[in-house]
């Protein structure tokens, strides 16, 4: 049977909302609590680390076995740039979706590729950042800052990675011509998730990187 048939077969829903869209929204609601727990833990452990390195410059901290002045590990400019790219990718996916809905293949594929590239750039930025921190002596188990920081941003990065995989899958569909306007919802669902992942980062960025 054709796919158009398959769609017509679903009776209208009780609320008029699409069932898959409602499921994504529900899932996002649940994920809010997941990240809220991680962010709360980061905040609870702020300033509780017994040894350095620490996120921000500190006049007194325990490093290499003695109290000394130590330099913060955060590279704000780099992360600010990564944040901007991630935010722009949210805009890109909106453009891609409008292309999908209007049947404009070029717009769809172009902007969706840009979204995927933006996501990949962000993940790359994070990998570089982690690598850099390791070199400054900040291992996963160094202190409670590093444990809560890596866990929080690591889970966010995993979400971004999953989003990139999802968007890339949709991109492949689009390139193969399997994303006609009536199936634009397949992109919209991924886009909803993508926006959510961005919004979480908008909370993480000031709370983790900017708040001293």
């Amino acid at each position: 049977m054709s796919h158009a048939d398959a769609h017509a077969m679903h009776p209208p829903t009780a609320t008029g909302l699409d069932t898959r869209k409602l499921a994504i929204w529900t899932f996002i609601g649940s994920e809010c609590l997941f990240f809220a727990s991680l962010i709360s833990t980061y905040l609870v452990y702020k300033g509780k680390s017994l040894v350095g390195p620490l996120p921000h410059d500190a006049s007194q901290c325990m490093l290499d076995g003695r109290m000394q002045q130590c330099e913060g590990v955060f590279e704000i400019p780099l992360v600010t740039f990564g944040t901007a790219v991630l935010l722009f990718s949210s805009y890109f996916v909106v453009k891609a979706l409008s292309g999908a809905q209007r049947g404009n293949r070029k717009q769809l594929i172009g902007w969706l590729s840009a979204t995927v590239v933006g996501g990949l750039f962000f993940v790359g930025m994070q990998v570089y950042e982690f690598y850099h921190f390791f070199h400054k002596g900040l291992g996963y188990t160094t202190n409670v800052f590093s444990a809560s920081f890596y866990t929080l941003t690591g889970f966010h990065g995993t979400h971004v990675t999953l989003g990139v995989i999802w968007l890339s899958t949709v991109l492949v569909l689009a390139i193969r011509g399997k994303l006609p306007p009536e199936k634009a919802l397949n992109l919209e669902l991924a886009a909803l998730y993508w926006h959510f992942v961005d919004v979480v980062w908008i909370v993480i960025f000031p709370v983790v990187y900017l708040m001293k």
Partner: protein, 608 residues
């Protein structure tokens, strides 16, 4: 034929029997039965663990069990009953009943539903596999830090617990998304929110609790996992961590979890009482809002589990007040149940016995709960058998009584034959008396200072005979559930002579409008609902009992195809998590590979 029943042009229908059909099923009724059967087996295992505990405690200074074995048994008893028995028994009813009660052909995502079940059963089996290694979890169902740290629990015991719960959490979350969306979106025409059966309402509130509470324990368990596997110090003071963080995260999940366990039984009782009182549920709207209010308040009371950690007078006062506040909506519910019975023409059938038992016992459990809402009283009661008495009145006297009542009530619908009334009533009286013998003396033992989670006690403290009575009571409970199994066996043998009609109890809700057991597509035509208690309305209009609905040929009704990808995906997910404990990164990656492979095939398989 109904417009929603479309021509379907498929290859010959796959076989509907045999092992393969169960492994690939996406039918909510079959998945419900799988949940129910699995949960009942786990319930028996958890019960056996309880009996061993009681046998150890029947006399003072007994050496029937070692302290180590005792720790494993009480931990697994709690964990099993909460996560592997009561929650999946509710899941059985969500699965079986929600689509039938709202007039739908299946849940919103049938394959996700199968996935939830497979993840659940793998998690349950994994957790219990720990016994094979003589390393069952032994740090309590609450897993307090830093008892669970690598330093104090070096064995695999706690690893089994952490990873087992992580797997089970995925099952619960996937199911919660599914049922929430199902209830919101798949209601039949006219089934407005305020016309939904009370069981559906309580189920929906439960899904919201699951969605908001489980992510928190997921995070708590992630921290514990990294502490144990990689050496982080989330809960380890020597590394700057704080064991109290675990308690906060665990109880922010744990108190809502209590309502996850009890709200579905509230729903069951709210279905049984009106039918056997022959009058509509008293105060429907108040029931809905009190349920929602309980759930809302449930997120603001967690620290009443932590009074003894010394949170200070302000936190203690606030959490004490919010906890006492919950007594109000709960009281509203109890009065409404009594109001439903009041002036009704009571049909003294087995399900009603259990519903009445539920009310009586739950009130006792509720009252002792309010007692430890007061911090000074709680400091006396915490970690004693008084608390054990309290939550067994709520969970055994409450949840299990409602579940057994629900089993007698819906059994004919699910299996097409009646359970024996006489045996059911005998079981009720044994269960009711034995339950009180087992758990009532625990109040006294607790107030005399008998500590929980301790494998023995010395003689001459006034605890000896109390414990003996408790052990005798627990044997009575074993008899009661043996009788239940005998009932199932005898009724099954005599099923030809005792077939269930579509509507054996003069029910009010849609599931009684279709044959018992329902056909695969549930409703030949999607019903239209004009009010609450739709079936009573129909019978009134008809001027008497409705004619027995006929089994119809549904070959032209579109149903989702069976699929084994949910099972493959569930296996991948479990392997991925088990890798943290055995095999390390390669096993994690194999799990991820199977997970992605399964998920992609799932996403791109034709749903028919």
């Amino acid at each position: 034929m109904a417009t929603s029943a479309r021509e379907h042009a498929h290859a010959p229908a796959p076989s509907k029997t045999g092992l393969w059909s169960w492994l690939t099923t996406v039918d909510h009724k079959r998945i419900g039965i799988l949940y129910g059967a699995s949960a009942f087996i786990f319930f028996l295992i958890g019960g056996l663990e309880a009996l061993l505990i009681r046998w150890q405690l029947r006399i003072p200074e007994n050496n029937f069990l070692s302290a180590e074995a005792y720790n494993q048994l009480f931990t697994m008893h709690g964990t099993t009953m909460v996560f592997l028995a009561v929650m999946p028994l509710s899941a059985m009813l969500f699965n079986y009943l929600i689509p039938l009660m709202i007039g739908a052909r299946d849940v919103a995502f049938p394959r996700l539903n199968a996935f939830s079940y497979w993840v659940f059963i793998l998690g349950g089996l994994f957790m219990n596999a720990s016994f094979l290694f003589n390393a069952a979890p032994d740090a309590g169902w609450f897993g307090y830090a830093n008892l669970t740290s690598k330093q104090y629990s070096p064995g695999m015991n706690v690893d089994f617990w952490v990873i087992g719960l992580q797997i089970l959490g995925v099952a619960s979350l996937a199911a919660a998304v599914n049922f929430f969306v199902t209830i919101i979106n798949l209601r039949a025409p006219g089934m407005k929110l305020m016309r939904m059966p009370m069981f559906v309402w309580m189920s929906m509130i439960t899904q919201v609790l699951l969605l908001l509470a489980f992510p928190v324990i997921t995070v708590a368990l992630v921290f514990l996992l990294t502490d144990r596997m990689f050496g982080t110090g989330f809960y380890i003071p020597a590394q700057g961590g704080d064991p109290i963080l675990w308690q906060h995260l665990f109880w922010i999940f744990g108190h809502p979890e209590v309502y996850i366990l009890i709200l579905p039984p509230f729903g069951i009782v709210s279905e049984i009482l009106p039918v056997f009182s022959r009058k509509p549920l008293f105060g429907y709207a108040a029931m809905v809002f009190s349920g929602a209010f309980i759930a809302f308040l449930g997120f603001g009371v967690w620290s009443h589990h932590m009074f003894s950690t010394g949170l200070g007078p302000i936190a203690d006062s606030v959490f004490s007040l919010t906890t006492m506040l919950i007594a109000i909506p709960t009281g509203v519910k109890i009065f409404n149940w009594i109001g439903t019975l009041w002036g009704g023409s009571l049909q003294m059938k087995t399900p009603l016995y259990y519903a009445l038992g539920f009310i009586a016992l739950f009130v006792i459990g509720g009252l002792s709960g309010v007692m430890h809402a007061s911090p000074p009283a709680d400091l006396q009661q915490t970690d004693t058998y008084f608390v054990v008495a309290h939550f067994h009145y709520v969970l055994f006297g409450g949840a299990i009584f409602a579940m057994v009542g629900g089993a007698f009530y819906w059994w004919p619908k699910m299996f097409g034959y009646m359970l024996r009334e006489g045996l059911g009533k005998v079981q009720f009286w044994i269960m009711f008396i034995a339950m009180n013998l087992t758990f009532f003396p625990m109040h006294y033992a607790g107030l005399h200072g008998m500590p929980r989670r301790t494998y023995t006690y010395v003689a001459g403290l006034g605890l000896d005979w109390l414990n003996l009575v408790e052990t005798i009571g627990s044997l009575g409970l074993a008899v009661a559930f043996t009788l239940f199994m005998v009932n199932i066996f005898v009724s099954f043998r005599g099923r030809k002579a005792n077939p269930a009609p579509a509507d054996p109890w003069n029910g009010a809700t849609l599931e009684w409008s279709i044959p018992s057991p329902p056909q695969e597509f549930n409703f030949p035509e999607i019903p239209t609902v004009e009010g609450r208690d739709p079936l009573w309305t129909a019978k009134r209009k008809h001027g008497g009992p409705l004619p027995e609905p006929k089994r119809v040929d549904g070959s032209n009704i579109h149903l989702p195809n069976p699929s084994y990808w949910p099972l493959v995906t569930a296996i991948g997910m479990s392997i991925m998590l088990i890798g943290f404990m055995a095999g390390g990164l390669p096993v994690n990656l194999i799990g991820v590979a199977i997970l992605f492979f399964g998920a992609f095939r799932w996403a791109f398989e034709p749903t028919g």
